[in-house]
C-alpha cells in the first residue's frame, strides 16, 4: 500500500494552498536555525581562541634588584617542584632590556631610558592554565605582600577570565534566543498543519468514511511539516554559508587584532562547519515532524 506519488502530490497541493503560512513557517525555521548555527560557530570559535590563548598563558614574576643568587635559585627550584608548572625561565635585567629594545626599535621611548629600569624576572608556563590564579597566589604571603625577593607578579588573569565569561554570556544569551525561536518555529509549523488539516477536513472525513487508515490520512501532513522544517534548515545553511562565514571571519580578525594573536584560522577548517550544516538540516526536519505530530494528535483520529 505504498503510494509515494499520492503522498507527494497531496503534500504539495497542501503547501500550495497554504502558501503564505508555509512561507512564514519556513522563514522562521530558517532564521531560527541560522542563529543556532551562527552561535554554535561563534562559541566554537571563541573556544578555539581560548585554547590558543591558554597555551600562551604565562606568569611573570619580577624580582627585586637586590635579590641574592641563593634566594633566586631557591625560588626557581621551588617553583619547578610545583605540579602545575611546566617550565620556568630566568630573564636577567640585561635580557629584559634587550627584548624591550627589540620590541620598541626606532621608537623615541628608547632615548628617554637611562640605565636599565627593567627588573629581572621568571617566566613561568603552566601545564594547566586555569590554575594560574592558585600558582600566582603562592608569591604572596599571608598578609597579601609579596614574598621576599619578589617585586611583582603579573599574569593575564583579566583577559583570560574575560574570555571565559564572554563565552558563558554568549552561550546563555544564544541559548535563550534559540529556545524562544525554536518555540516560535514549532508553533508556526503547528499552525500551518492545523490550517491544512482544517482546509482538508472534508477530504479527511471522506477518507475515514471509506476506510482509509489513520496513517494514510496522516502521512501527507507529516510530509508537509517535515518539508517545511527541512526547507527552513536548508535555507539557513545557505545563509550560514554566505553570511555566517563572512561575519565569523571578520570577527576572528577583530579578535586576533585586539589580542595580538597572529593566526586564528579556526573557521574554514572544514569538518566542524560541515557537521554544523548537517546538524541544522536534520534539526529542521525533526522540528517539522515534531510540530506536525503535535498538530495531528487527537485531531486526525477515527
Amino acid at each position: 500500500m505504498v503510494r509515494p506519488k499520492y503522498f507527494f502530490s497531496e503534500t504539495f497541493i497542501s503547501l500550495r494552498r497554504n502558501f503564505f503560512m508555509g512561507f512564514t513557517a519556513i522563514t522562521t525555521v530558517a532564521i531560527t536555525l541560522f542563529i543556532v548555527g551562527l552561535f554554535s560557530l561563534i562559541v566554537y570559535d571563541i573556544q578555539g581562541v581560548i585554547n590558543s590563548v591558554k597555551s600562551e598563558v604565562e606568569l611573570e614574576v619580577y624580582l627585586e634588584d637586590d635579590i641574592s643568587e641563593e634566594l633566586r635559585d631557591f625560588i626557581e627550584q621551588e617553583v619547578l617542584s610545583w605540579q602545575e608548572v611546566d617550565s620556568i625561565n630566568y630573564v636577567s635585567k640585561e635580557q629584559a632590556l634587550e627584548s624591550f629594545k627589540k620590541q620598541y626599535e626606532g621608537s623615541d621611548i628608547l632615548k628617554e631610558i637611562g640605565g636599565n629600569p627593567l627588573p629581572a624576572s621568571f617566566e613561568i608556563t603552566l601545564k594547566s592554565p586555569e590554575k594560574i590564579d592558585r600558582v600566582a597566589l603562592r608569591f604572596y604571603d599571608k598578609d597579601g605582600n609579596f614574598i621576599e625577593g619578589v617585586n611583582d607578579v603579573i599574569w593575564g588573569k583579566d583577559y583570560v577570565n574575560k574570555l571565559f565569561s564572554i563565552t558563558a554570556i554568549i552561550g546563555t544569551v544564544a541559548f535563550l534566543i534559540i529556545i524562544v525561536l525554536l518555540l516560535a518555529a514549532i508553533v508556526l509549523i503547528f499552525n500551518t498543519i492545523r490550517l491544512s488539516i482544517y482546509s482538508r477536513r472534508k477530504e479527511i472525513e471522506v477518507m475515514k468514511l471509506v476506510g482509509a487508515t489513520n496513517w494514510f490520512v496522516r502521512i501527507p501532513f507529516l510530509f508537509e511539516g517535515f518539508f517545511e522544517g527541512f526547507a527552513g534548515g536548508t535555507v539557513s545553511v545557505i545563509l550560514l554559508y554566505f553570511i555566517g562565514n563572512f561575519l565569523l571571519v571578520k570577527g576572528e580578525r577583530i579578535i586576533a587584532d585586539t589580542m595580538r594573536i597572529k593566526e586564528l584560522a579556526m573557521i574554514g577548517s572544514g569538518n566542524v562547519i560541515f557537521y554544523v550544516y548537517i546538524g541544522i538540516v536534520v534539526m529542521g526536519g525533526l522540528i517539522g515532524i515534531l510540530s506536525s505530530t503535535i498538530a495531528l494528535r487527537g485531531y486526525v483520529k477515527i
Binding site: M1, R3, Y6, K202, E203, E205, V206, M207, K208, L209, V210, G211, A212, T213, N214, F216, V217, K301, I302
Partner: protein
C-alpha cells in the same frame, strides 16, 4: 447469514439522552430494510454504531457475524471498507471531478491505478452517470450528486450499504430515482439499510420496515408501509 445483528443495544449520550433503548434486530444478507421514524428517533445513531463512528453504551453489535464492540481502532478502517455509506449532504469534494471523487475512495484504501480505471467507470455506469465523469459536483443536480455519492460508497463492492436520509434534500421524482438505484444495488446481493422519513418511497417499495420512536423499536414489518 446475518449481516447486521443488534443484541440489546442501547446508546446513552454524554448529556444523558437515550438515543437507542434495548434494540434487538437481525438483518439478513441481501435484505432491503427501511429504518423509519421522525427526526431524533435514533436512526442516525443506529447507522453511526454500525460504522463504529460511535460506540454503543451496552449490548452487542455483530457485523457479518463478528462482534464489533471491542474492535481495535486499527481495525475500524477494515470494517468501513465493508460498509458503504451515503448521506443526506452527499459529502462530495468540490475541487475534484466526478471520476476523481469516486476514484478517491479507492485511492485512499490503496487500490492500484489500473483497478481504479476499470472499477470507477463501471460503477458510474451503474448509477447512470457515465457521461458526467469529467464534471464537477457543482455542475450536477442534487439527484446526480447523490448518485455520485452512492457510486463512491459502492465502488469497492461492500456487502453492506447504509443510506442515511439519502433523499432528504431531493424532490419526489428524483428521490424515486435514487431509491431505484439502491434497489438495483440490493438485487446484486448487497444488504441495504435506508433510513428515511419519506413516506411515499417506503409505501411504494413494500419492503421490510423497522420503525423507531424515541430510541425504541416499535415496529418490524415484513412488507411494510410508512405507517399512519
Amino acid at each position: 447469514m446475518n449481516m447486521i445483528e443488534f443484541r440489546d443495544v442501547s446508546k446513552i449520550y454524554d448529556d444523558n439522552t437515550a438515543a437507542l433503548k434495548k434494540i434487538n434486530l437481525v438483518i439478513k444478507k441481501g435484505e432491503f430494510l427501511f429504518l423509519v421514524g421522525p427526526s431524533g428517533s435514533g436512526k442516525s445513531t443506529f447507522i453511526k454504531i454500525i460504522i463504529k463512528e460511535i460506540s454503543e453504551s451496552s449490548g452487542s453489535v455483530f457485523i457479518a457475524g463478528k462482534n464489533i464492540c471491542n474492535l481495535k481502532t486499527g481495525k475500524i478502517p477494515q470494517l468501513r471498507r465493508n460498509v458503504g455509506c451515503v448521506f443526506q449532504d452527499f459529502k462530495l469534494l468540490p475541487d475534484r471531478t466526478i471520476f476523481e471523487n469516486v476514484a478517491f475512495a479507492l485511492e485512499v484504501i490503496g487500490k492500484p491505478g489500473y483497478e481504479i480505471k476499470i472499477l470507477v467507470p463501471q460503477v458510474l455506469k451503474l448509477v447512470g452517470l457515465s457521461n458526467r465523469m469529467d464534471s464537477y459536483p457543482n455542475q450536477l443536480s442534487g439527484g446526480e450528486q447523490q448518485r455520485v455519492s452512492i457510486a463512491r460508497a459502492f465502488v469497492n463492492r461492500p456487502p453492506i450499504l447504509l443510506a442515511d436520509e439519502p433523499t432528504g434534500n431531493l424532490d419526489p421524482t428524483t428521490s424515486e430515482g435514487i431509491t431505484k438505484i439502491l434497489s438495483r444495488i440490493n438485487i446484486i446481493g448487497t444488504t441495504v439499510l435506508m433510513a428515511t422519513h419519506d413516506r411515499n418511497i417506503v409505501n411504494s417499495m413494500r419492503r421490510r420496515v423497522v420503525e423507531l420512536e424515541e430510541g425504541e423499536m416499535i415496529r418490524d414489518q415484513k412488507r411494510g408501509v410508512y405507517g399512519d
